[in-house]
Symmetry: C2
Subunit: 180 residues, 2 copies
């Protein structure tokens, strides 16, 4: 049960955004822009960064959600998501994704942990400045979403089927539709 | 110098949002909604929470900025901001603000640190569910903004005068104007 009375029984961040649509709107607009707008990083790759950071923050609702959204949009599916969350630097992802996941992990621990060597390594592996920017902001944003969900004790379902159903909705209609 | 080429010499998050207006728009809309929209917590109180969390995250740009914005909107000015960042639980703020600042500090360390006792204490001191919600989200959002700014090594001026000038702009025109 959430720490506050949200007047609905919707799971996770959806219940919180329904309780407070005024903040739900910019929060879902940010997710839509970061994770779904046209980008040289695929939607699956961006969701993988989101799932990875959520797992580092041990946020069960966000990890389960974005793992399902990543799996639905990556050719390698859930096996790759599980391997990445377990050990990103040994997972079968590209050198560029490894370097970006390293930057994301540094951001998760605190922004000042990111060094110019981390960024240089990402650039050397082929990442553009926009990709590095977006990786830092996705990682930072999930340090917000994770804390929002867990800080208010939002409802976290156990059944994986619900997350898979939400993945279908997000893949087809996006984050703005999910809160309406 | 920032870790990426942002094609401008604007300080902190302003330089980053100018580099990437697509994400700058929802980021500034979120700040405007959380910190300036009509609320039973005053603008000064909400900026105080933002400055406090930024100081816990040791983000110099955001701490200097939101300390200036809080000081400009609180009758007690910068002395109260300095005392709160030094030791929130001994600062001369109301019992309600102390309880909300305790919740914010727990969120900063990670959302799962917030207990029902923390929330009950805030409610017993007079905080509403919306105020508790907004405190959690302000704290979570500054765990994002702080990581975004420091993770990209954004320009951080030393001179306090610049932050005071930005405070005038924010107090008069808000966050959406600051990025345009």
């Amino acid at each position: 049960m959430p720490h506050i009375n949200v007047d609905n029984d919707l799971p996770g961040i959806v219940g919180l955004m329904r309780f407070r649509p005024e903040t739900g709107q910019p929060l879902s607009a940010l997710a839509e822009t970061l994770l779904r707008n046209p980008n040289t990083l695929s939607r699956g790759e961006r969701e993988l960064i989101a799932a990875y950071v959520s797992s580092l923050n041990e946020c069960k609702f966000c990890t389960s959600s974005h793992a399902a959204f990543a799996a639905a949009q990556l050719p390698e599916g859930m096996d790759l998501v599980t391997a990445t969350c377990a050990d990103a630097q040994r997972a079968p992802v590209s050198a560029k994704m490894k370097a970006l996941l390293n930057v994301a992990a540094k951001v998760q621990r605190g922004g000042r942990n990111v060094t110019s060597s981390d960024v240089d390594a990402a650039r050397a592996a082929g990442a553009t400045d926009v990709e590095i920017h977006d990786t830092v902001l996705i990682a930072a944003a999930f340090c917000m979403y994770n804390r929002y969900v867990d800080g208010l004790g939002a409802i976290t379902p156990d059944d994986p089927e619900g997350y898979a159903q939400t993945a279908d909705l997000i893949v087809s209609h996006g984050y703005l539709a999910a809160v309406q």
